[in-house]
């Protein structure tokens, strides 16, 4: 029997629909309704919800880079926070299925030449057992290219606020993206610092433009 990935209730669909190839949804209606899709006007660059379509102050303040746009699927509300905690920190890989269809659609729309995961530092990867970004790409049926790697760095929680805001580059290129557009896929977009640093490293690898898709958009 098919069950909701979060509450284990049945998500069985009518047998005639299954016969025509329909698949049961990953979440039941009750759990799905706790997640809020982002819609309406937003920042043209980072997809932050806004009163009217414009470029938000944060994006205006960022220096120019190869990073073009971000698209985010859901608001980072309590339900999403709990879901991502279970996915990333508890390590429930199967939850990547919830976003597979949405990510596939958004990736088609972004129409980039290559897809690339945001790498984790080796020690962090060993601790978590999988990279959430790779999991999202894999479950969406996309093929990620190994273009980037990440150096060991101190834990964010051990840094002062000033050090965090001015985070230094920890990504470095390990592949060739010469003349290509690259799509990064990750779980959350907050300040955009991580995505922009990854974009810088991709530029070193030869990429001419970088877009991103994230499951959630945090911040107001």
């Amino acid at each position: 029997m098919s069950r909701c990935l979060l509450c284990e209730n049945s998500t069985e669909i009518d047998s005639w629909r299954a016969f025509f190839g329909a698949k049961p949804p990953p979440l039941c209606e009750a759990c799905l309704s706790t997640l809020k899709k982002i819609s309406g006007p937003s920042c043209k660059i980072c997809a932050r919800p806004m009163e009217k379509e414009a470029v938000c102050p944060d994006c205006l303040a960022w220096r120019k880079s190869t990073f073009v746009t971000n698209a985010s699927l859901y608001h980072y509300n309590d339900a999403m926070q709990a879901l991502i905690a279970r996915f990333k920190y508890r390590g429930d890989y199967a939850l990547a299925d919830i976003f597979a269809q949405d990510i596939r659609t958004a990736a088609q729309k972004a129409a980039c030449d290559l897809v690339c995961a945001v790498p984790l530092a080796p020690s962090r990867l060993a601790e978590r057992r999988f990279n959430q970004s790779e999991a999202l790409i894999e479950r969406a049926g996309l093929t990620g290219m190994p273009l980037l790697a990440r150096k060991e760095s101190d834990k964010q929680s051990k840094k002062s606020r000033k050090e965090r805001v001015g985070s230094r580059q920890t990504f470095y290129p390990i592949g060739d993206a010469a003349g290509k557009s690259v799509l990064l896929i990750d779980d959350i977009y907050t300040t955009g610092a991580t995505i922009r640093l990854a974009a810088d490293a991709l530029e070193e690898a030869g990429a001419h433009s970088v877009k991103s898709i994230t499951v959630a958009r945090s911040g107001s």
């Binding site: 284990e8 279970r86 508890r90 429930d92 890989y93 199967a94 057992r129 999988f130």
Partner: protein
């Protein structure tokens, strides 16, 4: 965690065990068996897998107990195999001067015997019979004999209520309360009070396992919790079940003698259980607060009003606020749940609207109870018996009004009333009731 005794009886993952560690006194086994079965929660159906950065293979993991930390094919479980800690000689000293009712006394002796023989026994005691007191003598004997005792309950609020009571009764062995996020997690004690959930972290630890509210959700429903109880007790150990409303299959087994049990059909204060009255109230889904309900509420000083669903309850609340603005509502996800229950206890809320979350485990002295939409399927026979059991619990106010407002009687309603009447008959026949 300098105290190695902490590990005694516990079985933990490599991530929970602090390193470096002298592994001399530990037995190690894989977290998942070949089948696969999760060795911590017993799950055999809910798994997923992924390429694992830790072991380099495609690793299967258990999705059932992942909130307690991940168990994968490459996870190992560590179990202490060193000597068991010796208990203080005073561990079983009982600081309790109450007396048991005749019904309680019989049950208490049977529990004691089961504990001494390492056998199984069920105490079927009506709401307000005084189940916990029935355990004291047996627990004291076990603790004095150097045995390790666990009192488990499916719900955390019951655990939080039981722990301080037992601390008062066993002052030399105050039990830690184990539930998700509890501050007492890292201590060893010969006596613990735990959610059935937290028992996942124990293996063959207890000589006496007591499961309270054994018919409560989610215990009956979740096979892995039943697995946890079995795993946490020693192979040779006593198993005591407490319930006010046993499942139908349990009732049959008790009747046929397959399940050894003591029935306490009467309350400790020797007054009969209030019998629910049924009152037809028309289509309450339309009227939300039907006239007879409104009238009932106006007459009450202290009452619980049960609704089957949050939505109708919230609509009813806004109407009843016009009757008295101190009236409140509560449900499982209510952030002010603890505070509202506390305010109800203090008497600053006259009428509390509630879903079935307050059906059991709570006592408000002198409270009257009504159910709106008693025919709804959330109100099972046992739910209705438990709800009726909220009324008349204290010796000072031993009677109470219980009304089932309905839009068509159900089998569950009729059987609940019959069950309560039958208990009163039994109580009378056995001389456990006055008057």
């Amino acid at each position: 965690m300098t105290n190695a005794f902490f590990f005694s009886g516990r079985e933990l993952t490599d991530e929970e065990i602090l390193k470096p560690l002298d592994l001399h006194h530990f037995t190690v086994r894989p977290g998942l068996s070949e089948t696969p079965q999760c060795q911590r929660c017993g799950n055999t159906t809910n798994f997923s897998s992924h390429p694992c950065a830790r072991c380099g293979k495609i690793c299967t993991y258990c999705r059932n107990c992942i909130e307690m930390g991940k168990i994968s094919s490459c996870t190992k479980l560590y179990r202490w195999n060193g000597p068991e800690p010796a208990h203080s000689e005073k561990a079983g000293r009982l600081n309790w001067s109450g007396t048991l009712s005749a019904g309680q006394h019989t049950a208490s002796e049977n529990v004691l015997r089961a504990i001494q023989n390492g056998s199984e026994h069920t105490v079927w005691a009506v709401a307000g019979a005084g189940k916990t007191e029935v355990l004291f003598k047996g627990m004291a004997a076990a603790l004095s004999g150097g045995k390790r005792v666990c009192l488990a309950a499916p719900r955390a609020d019951v655990v939080r209520e039981l722990a301080p009571r037992l601390s008062a009764v066993f002052p030399d062995t105050p039990p830690p309360a184990l539930y998700g996020g509890s501050p007492d997690r890292h201590v060893y004690s010969p006596l613990i009070v735990s959610t059935t959930h937290q028992l996942f972290r124990f293996t063959e630890a207890f000589d006496v396992m007591i499961v309270d509210e054994v018919d409560a959700f989610p215990y009956t429903f979740d096979l892995s919790l039943q697995y946890a109880v079995q795993k946490a007790r020693k192979k040779k150990s006593a198993l005591i079940y407490l319930t006010a409303t046993p499942e139908p299959s349990w009732k049959e087994d008790i009747k046929s003698g397959k399940r050894e049990a003591t029935l306490i059909p009467a309350r400790y204060h020797r007054h009969p259980l209030p019998v629910p009255k049924m009152s037809w109230c028309g289509n309450w889904k339309k009227t939300i607060v039907p006239d007879p309900v409104q009238k009932w509420v106006k007459e009450k000083q202290k009452a619980l009003l049960f609704y089957p669903h949050i939505e109708t309850m919230e609509k009813a609340l806004s109407r009843l606020k016009e009757v008295d603005e101190r009236i409140e509502s509560v449900h499982a996800g209510d952030p002010l749940r603890k505070e509202k229950v506390e305010a109800m206890r203090r008497g600053s809320i006259p009428v509390l609207l509630t879903t079935t979350i307050l059906e059991r485990g709570v006592t408000f002295p002198g409270v009257d109870v009504a159910v709106v939409g008693a025919e709804d399927r959330v109100f099972t026979e046992s739910a209705l018996v438990q709800i009726a059991g909220r009324a008349g619990r204290s010796a000072a106010c031993p009677t109470g009004d219980v009304v089932l407002f309905h839009y068509g009687k159900t089998e569950a309603m009729v059987r609940a009333v019959e069950q309560i009447k039958q208990m009163n008959r039994l109580g009378r026949d056995r001389g456990l009731l006055d008057g």
